[in-house]
């Protein structure tokens, strides 16, 4: 190769070394940023991998809250929330809602009576083109304070070491409140009788620009009736799905959406800690569930109920979980949409 105009004294070798250093340095910086050089970094992939049961992930399904059933209906805002947030979803009106009742398990075939945590994913769309997505559970507190602790909980519960959970609970005292609820036995026999809590806090901003940190809950209109898991199991593995389908066929069911406002100093960054009972609450409207649809063909199937999809007027707070959930839900979504053939739609099966 010609080296036509090389200055005397400049070493070609030196130049090539410099090029190698620049290119190698660029590649190394990229690898570092990607986490390839940091085996201890908690990545969303690691978190999602840790959710998989010993038998492997349920292909084509959500990696957690894998079993669920779709619903559609409306959110009827009463206008009271406008004082808190300028989001259109709080101004008086009726907006389309899409949601999913689900079980807090990675097993898409778990019998309904075996899963303590029940959840609801919800999306409310408003005419201004914005959406509010939220995913709530019936537990009054989250098990842990940080995403790292949640990862440790997943590892401990999957561990073969008989003392793993004891060790975990000792290292994470905040787990006690959740564990108490988990073992207290107050089960209900219906998705319609549960209270669903955001647990995570968010910041709402009203039209005057005033910020408040809030959590929200959906309170059932139906009276909760205590049922033991043993009794519930007699209804079969899909008892909750059958019950909610039949109940909504008889008539719509509803929930009140109640926003709780933090006082200064409340633990807004820690969903494992309940706020004191006397905090101000505002009933902002009613979720009406009008139709139930099975998931395989249902409209909730390919929706990611990412809790960071928020309309202007609601934003994330200092709570670290919505970001972690968003990152992990995206991984779950990316994986399951690539596995759609493992979770066929019933229509495709019905007509050979």
């Amino acid at each position: 190769m010609t080296q036509p105009n090389r200055s005397p004294g400049r070493s070609v070798f030196g130049s090539l070394v410099l090029i190698a250093v620049v290119v190698g340095g660029g590649a190394a910086a990229f690898a570092y940023t990607a986490g390839w050089l940091s085996p201890n970094r908690l990545t969303p992939d690691k978190l999602v991998n840790a959710l998989a049961p010993p038998t492997g992930a349920a292909l084509g399904h959500r990696r957690n809250h894998a079993k669920g059933i779709c619903f559609t209906g409306t959110f009827e805002a009463n206008g009271a929330g406008s004082a808190l947030s300028r989001a259109e979803v709080f101004s008086r009106g009726t907006y389309p809602a899409l949601g999913r009742f689900n079980l807090g398990t990675a097993d898409a075939n778990a019998p309904d009576a075996t899963v303590r945590v029940r959840g609801m994913g919800l999306r409310v769309s408003t005419p201004d083109g914005h959406e509010w997505r939220t995913a709530m559970i019936n537990a009054p507190v989250f098990p842990v304070s940080t995403p790292q602790a949640f990862y440790a909980l997943l590892l401990a519960s999957a561990s073969k070491d008989p003392d793993a959970m004891k060790t975990f609970a000792a290292a994470h005292p905040e787990f006690a409140d959740f564990a108490a609820w988990n073992g207290n036995g107050s089960w209900t026999g219906s998705y319609a009788e549960e209270r669903y809590n955001s647990l995570d806090s968010f910041v709402v901003t009203n039209s005057a620009g005033a910020d408040k940190t809030v959590r929200w809950s959906l309170l059932p209109a139906a009276q909760p009736i205590a049922v033991s898991p043993e009794e519930l199991a007699k209804g079969g593995p899909d008892v909750l799905e059958q019950e909610i389908t039949e109940r909504v066929q008889r008539g719509p069911i509803s929930f009140s959406l109640v926003v709780t406002i933090a006082n200064p100093g409340d633990p807004t960054a820690d969903p494992s800690k309940a706020w004191p009972e006397d905090r101000r609450t505002v009933d902002v409207g009613t979720l009406v569930v009008q139709q139930i649809e099975a998931e395989p063909n249902g409209p909730c199937r390919d929706i990611n109920f990412d809790p960071t999809v928020l309309p202007p007027g609601i934003r994330t707070s200092d709570d670290p979980f919505p970001a972690a959930r968003s990152a992990a839900y995206a991984v779950s979504y990316d994986r399951r949409t690539a596995e759609a053939s493992d979770y066929p739609r019933t229509a495709a099966v019905a007509k050979p």
């Binding site: 070609v12 590649a27 970094r41 202007p312 934003r315 949409t337």
Partner: protein, 193 residues
């Protein structure tokens, strides 16, 4: 006007270096955001989307400017395989600069995510919701990002090779400011045209 013809126009150089910063930032943000569950995940995602659209707009402007103004010729004595590599890699870079933002936008559309540009400003979906399209586009977005970064490393290596080893005026054609007085190589380039 030989001097003008040896270098890209000032507008082309400005677009090149501005986009170099944007695209490198974009690739690092992309690979960084998918590797963390920390709150910075949301910050990085909220930069990734508007920056991608900015790159798309800049790339379209740049393509038009390139078609209008052209590019200085490669040195006549550049070996044929290097010429071919230069031409093909530049096609690939232009394709990726335009395709990557469109794939990202389409991927979010197929997943029925709102495509949030800024708080309160959403872009319309450019595809209907589809799990299969989402899976295809997501795979393309991820793998093409690595291809893009590899191409940029090769581009940097080649630029430095021209600047430091061959010293043939190719680097100077895109240098942000003139790097030297007229060198023998420039006379050679001019003579070849």
């Amino acid at each position: 006007m030989i001097a003008d013809h040896k270098r890209f126009s000032a507008l082309q150089r400005l677009l090149h270096w501005l986009m170099a910063v944007c695209i490198l930032a974009m690739l690092f943000i992309g690979v960084g955001m998918v590797s963390t569950v920390m709150p910075k995940y949301l910050t990085l995602v909220s930069i990734h989307k508007p920056l991608g659209i900015a790159i798309l707009i800049l790339a379209v402007i740049r393509l038009v400017v390139r078609l209008r103004y052209g590019a200085p010729s490669l040195p006549a004595d550049l070996p044929e395989p290097m010429k071919l590599a230069a031409v093909l890699s530049h096609y690939a870079l232009y394709i990726l600069m335009i395709a990557m933002p469109l794939i990202g936008w389409a991927m979010l559309s197929a997943a029925a995510y709102p495509v949030v540009l800024f708080a309160g400003v959403n872009l319309p979906p450019i595809l209907p919701q589809s799990d299969r399209l989402h899976a295809l586009l997501w795979g393309a977005h991820v793998y093409l990002a690595f291809v893009f970064f590899a191409l940029i490393l090769m581009h940097v290596a080649a630029a430095l090779f021209h600047a430091l080893v061959r010293r043939d005026g190719v680097f100077d054609a895109m240098a942000p400011v003139p790097t030297r007085k007229v060198a023998p190589a420039d006379r050679k380039v001019a003579a070849a045209e």
